[in-house]
Assembly symmetry: C2
Homo-oligomer: 451 residues x 2
């Protein structure tokens, strides 16, 4: 390791290879405090050539490394849990010029989502993926985990935004295709393959990203429903009726109350409904009218919808949704499960999760909310009696219902032992064959996904 | 080969292994008549197990095979040009139940696009990719080539519609992930990897597909412009102004005249403009008003737009666009190039292509049209003096402009020698490593893409 440390310092400069425990500790623990590791050193390269040199040095020394962006994941995928060294991509902050006509930009892996958003806004453009950790989450990490967020129902996940990548593979070679064209069928889609591979095939160093027009006006409404089932049907109906639908988010009464208390705000009257759905649309003319008309036709509604008529009141409604994870975190170390359910099975699952948690930890708080439009729910469990057994019970329910145990955050370390239950043996054999092909010595994130 | 023939007949039945030249000839030539091959036999399996048995038998005998769907490609990717056997997926016609709430369906590889469209329409749903060859093109072939078509600007290519695949890899193993969830980050995205791999990694046998709501009403307009540059700017403007924009197609005056003559119809007055753009939008309320308002603001317009006020007149406008390839085909064997240009370089490219063709084949007809919203142009050259040299000259211009030499149809056989000019050495090395990993003996489409 000493020889490697010397070599890495030669490559990136001593100041970018911290080894002191105080300096490396922030890289060794995730923000939920659930995943804590330790690392002998962090390497902070400044460009793709340095990344390649680091990977080659690690390969020569047979030392494993964990690529890390903003470290905002939930499944222990970017934390050195087995003493790996950390390769931080945060210094790869170069952001190319925005091509307003072609609606594209090339961003370094270390660019934060927020920095990207600020850079493209003056051109009347935005980025299709948005999520609460925007100030910290980096483009590289978002590519590696195929991040989703609140606008997938309209614009798709990171993979859909990705027009090409530059990356260093596990064998130290560099792949690069950053022309950023919307249609480009010249060979295997390495960008899509790396997207969601959780740092096990390559270290993403830059990405060509599609941009989308910012709608001139948006409208937001909070709509009450008697049951989750009615909300699921309304989600399908809204997607059918409104072409510019940007988000369809699910909340339950308990979660909304907790969020309101956390924010210290008065909730709108509709928050008394057992189930609420936050809908955002972006249309050219009078979006409020379009939304109001669409809401009228929905069955199973409860109460009068809260409709935002300006950006400020829209922001207030969104804040209720965004405060859910914060409000949960304020109660302790949260067990966070991020799952997808088939639409027909979603309502029953929400009931079952609450029953299951109540049976095992009657004092615990169980919040279920998320991206209804994609069938993607976040289950947050926190409080006395919460153990890994609860995670297992919830994921069991997901598997039984034909859902996915990981919607947005990947398999990481947390869900490794579940992989064989949700993927066919042939699929996992193919994963391993691809892993061997691109990372022949298995030095990239060896404890994630396929371990 | 005799031993293999016997084995294949045992697997799928003798009637599904034709060897007579008369029976095999239709599988050996593509519809453009540009790519003609020959094959000793065609295997027509009826399910995934038969596909796997065929691939394993071919592997054991070290005999190469070409997977073939509807055989509607343009780059010689599904034709046995080196005497390979043909594996036809057309009998894999099983279509699952439509999940209207979850907006998804599982389709066998042999299902035609048209059959899929008919099956999902009663649920108020449609499929996001549409293209002129819908009656023949199969889902399997569309996955293998990452097909695009006229609605990519709104809904993305096949890869975006793909929620999972079942396939037989080159080593004879079966991968299968057909839950069809919109968000599912459990391992490498094998579906995206196979999508666009042109039959070189695996034979797609089924696909889980996302469906989208059918807009209640649509509006279509044909808008005239003085220059291609104005049309490019208008395309960006329209995408900015109209959230439900479904298609933005480019035509030039010569092509429109040829299409009109081919269809024997009177062209609308706006067809006199040097450049015309066909725009389709789908919105909830009064789409014609929305479209008319959006058109008003466009710069560089010429003439009065032809706006369709009902499905029939919309169909008439679309037919002008759709007739372009037919009208060209009626003139002879067409050299068809399918390319993407960066938006800022598109207008200059259109000029250069015409100049380049005129210099080399002054008598030839050169039609340029295509999916302006994606920067995807189709260049059709037909007539006296048209040689491969013209293809090379056009693709040279594409490379110089930073475009892609293949937008929708892949590399196939036609563009193999161009691959190294448009992809980095590291990318091609990664393609080869993945190819070796999933097709270790190189039996799948060995003359396509990486040959």
């Amino acid at each position: 390791l000493d020889a490697l440390t010397t070599e890495l310092r030669r490559i990136v400069g001593a100041q970018h290879v911290p080894t002191d425990r105080d300096d490396t500790a922030p890289y060794a623990t995730d923000w939920t405090r659930r995943w804590r590791g330790a690392t002998p050193l962090v390497a902070r390269p400044g460009d793709v050539d340095e990344v390649a040199a680091i990977v080659r040095a690690c390969r020569a020394h047979r030392v494993a490394l964990v690529p890390q962006g903003g470290n905002t994941g939930l499944v222990g995928g970017s934390v050195p849990l087995a003493g790996e060294i950390v390769l931080s991509t945060r210094r790869l902050e170069r952001l190319g010029d925005v091509d307003a006509l072609g609606m594209r930009v090339v961003a370094g892996a270390g660019v934060t989502l927020e920095a990207l958003q600020h850079a493209v806004a003056p051109a009347g453009l935005r980025f299709g993926v948005d999520l609460a950790a925007r100030g910290t989450a980096t483009i590289g990490g978002m590519v590696a985990t195929n991040a989703g967020g609140t606008h997938v129902v309209r614009h798709g996940t990171m993979r859909v935004q990705l027009l090409g990548v530059e990356a260093v593979l596990g064998d130290g070679s560099v792949i690069r295709h950053l022309r950023g064209l919307r249609k480009d069928n010249t060979g295997y889609d390495l960008a899509s393959l790396l997207c969601g591979s959780e740092g096990t095939l390559g270290v993403v160093t830059a990405a060509a990203l599609r941009l989308i027009p910012t709608p001139r006006t948006v409208a937001v409404a909070l709509i009450g429903f008697a049951t989750v089932d009615a909300a699921v049907r309304a989600s399908a109906q809204l997607q059918h009726d409104v072409p510019g639908i940007e988000a369809v988010e699910l909340m339950l009464r308990d979660g909304l109350r907790l969020a309101g208390a956390h924010l210290d705000v008065t909730l709108p009257a509709v928050a008394e409904a057992p189930v609420t759905v936050l809908v955002e649309i972006g249309v050219a003319e009078s979006p409020v009218d379009v939304l109001a008309a669409a809401v009228q036709g929905l069955e199973g509604r409860v109460g009068e919808p809260a409709v935002a008529i300006d950006a400020r009141s829209a922001g207030r409604l969104w804040r209720l949704r965004d405060a859910h994870p914060e409000a949960a975190a304020a109660l302790g170390v949260v067990h966070k499960l991020d799952v997808t359910l088939p639409a027909p099975a979603l309502a029953a699952f929400v009931d079952q999760v609450h029953q299951s948690v109540r049976a095992r930890a009657p004092e615990a708080t169980c919040l279920v909310y998320g991206h209804l439009g994609d069938g993607n729910l976040h289950v947050n469990v926190v409080g006395p009696g919460v153990t890994d057994e609860i995670d297992d019970a919830v994921l069991d329910l997901v598997v039984e219902a034909g859902g996915s145990i990981s919607a947005e955050h990947g398999i990481g370390t947390a869900k490794r032992r579940w992989l064989e239950q949700v993927r066919a043996p042939g699929d996992i054999a193919a994963f391993r064959a691809i892993k061997r092909a691109l990372d022949p010595d298995g030095i990239l994130n060896p404890n994630v996904l396929l371990a």
